[in-house]
Symmetry: none
Subunit: 128 residues, 4 copies
Amino acid sequence: MDVTVSPNNPVPLYEQIVEQVRAKILTGELKAGDPLPSIRQLAGQLLASVITTKRAYSELEAEGLIITRTGLGTFVADLGPETIIKLKKEVVMEHLEEGVRVARQLELANEEINCLFRQALDGSDERV
Amino acid sequence: MDVTVSPNNPVPLYEQIVEQVRAKILTGELKAGDPLPSIRQLAGQLLASVITTKRAYSELEAEGLIITRTGLGTFVADLGPETIIKLKKEVVMEHLEEGVRVARQLELANEEINCLFRQALDGSDERV
Amino acid sequence: MDVTVSPNNPVPLYEQIVEQVRAKILTGELKAGDPLPSIRQLAGQLLASVITTKRAYSELEAEGLIITRTGLGTFVADLGPETIIKLKKEVVMEHLEEGVRVARQLELANEEINCLFRQALDGSDERV
Amino acid sequence: MDVTVSPNNPVPLYEQIVEQVRAKILTGELKAGDPLPSIRQLAGQLLASVITTKRAYSELEAEGLIITRTGLGTFVADLGPETIIKLKKEVVMEHLEEGVRVARQLELANEEINCLFRQALDGSDERV
DNA sequence: GTGGTCTAGACCACA
DNA sequence: GTGGTCTAGACCACC
């Protein structure tokens, strides 16, 4: 499983892992029942500590995205397709709503916020 | 000056203060040259320590939004209107771009992202 | 006597006054025995407090540049021309030596320091 | 890392630390990616408080010279060689320009200023 | 172990 | 009165 982390990234290591594994599950790259690499294996691959990797898995399990079966390993949980769609929206909405909240606080008009959003969308489009 | 903070908020106290004072300056509620409350006064009002409020003011000074003069007090810096507009956009863009980045990672189509943004905008509209 | 201070200048008010009066004495604009404005008069003119002005005069008296005769007023001290020349050099040297000290700490070669000095000299020349 | 501070020095402790670490980075004694001593370790070594050393590191991070990673430690940032050269010049120029400014205020001729600078350069040379 | 935040309280410089 | 520096010491998050 290709997961890459960077110690220069201000986001905590365990969060970087969580974000990427979550993305793989929500996009369907990892499907229900698929086995995840063992904590030790992933830690070795990422040059991270076992504790850090373990914390990432704990976080994902708390979110209900993965299930740990002691002795067997860790597996992707069985979420219905509607649940997946709902989760995707939630993750994205958090950031967009925060942006809108700040924009309102700065008393920007809807039209202005719209314009900024379009820039954000186009800007990332070029890079894709 | 009405600033309110919550110790339960995971955002550090000093950051909460920074955000609110910054908003007041960028919206023009506080104008160039206006005096800010003294750090001791604000600390008392917020039930925070003098050092915490001082830290907030230091951050704002590092951003160039305020100027502190020992013995005199703290004052709003004189930013041109273009600078203000630029700063407002930057603050909002940070969040919107993060939202778009995450959406792309989850392989959402532009149309879907657009739809979510519209929900975020409308959702906050009702509350306004 | 034309002295101007700015509260926006990070240099303390009393220091701004000291620097300007010192310059007037060392350049000969103010000569030995010349009377200085009274503390109250100067304070009113500068929109500064009497205490601040008094502190500036105390500083100048401690440097031996002025003499206060109770009841009569404050007067420029009688320094020989060699003393004046020596003082001028001292004031300038403080800054230049600090610049050279820092340059040495950063391991700049003499040639490089020379080049920077020339830039500093030329840069201010244009503005004159 | 050999850093020495003096509580008698009118320059604040944290500024003394900043200046020395900055010099080590700009001269290349500390290279990109190199770890700095932990704030606790440096505090013990300098007989200063943890907060004072932390403040020094915070300043250096605000200048972009170092990067702190919670749980990992503090590291020298990766500045290009041109940036390093530019920063070195800036630091030195501040002082030289101030010297020239004061010299002009005292109505010294270019030739005289030049002479003083030469003395400053030679004077420090002997000590080297 | 690392850094990040918050606290209380002292002393100094400036106006 | 204002802000600036320094202190000791506590608790939390991350690795």
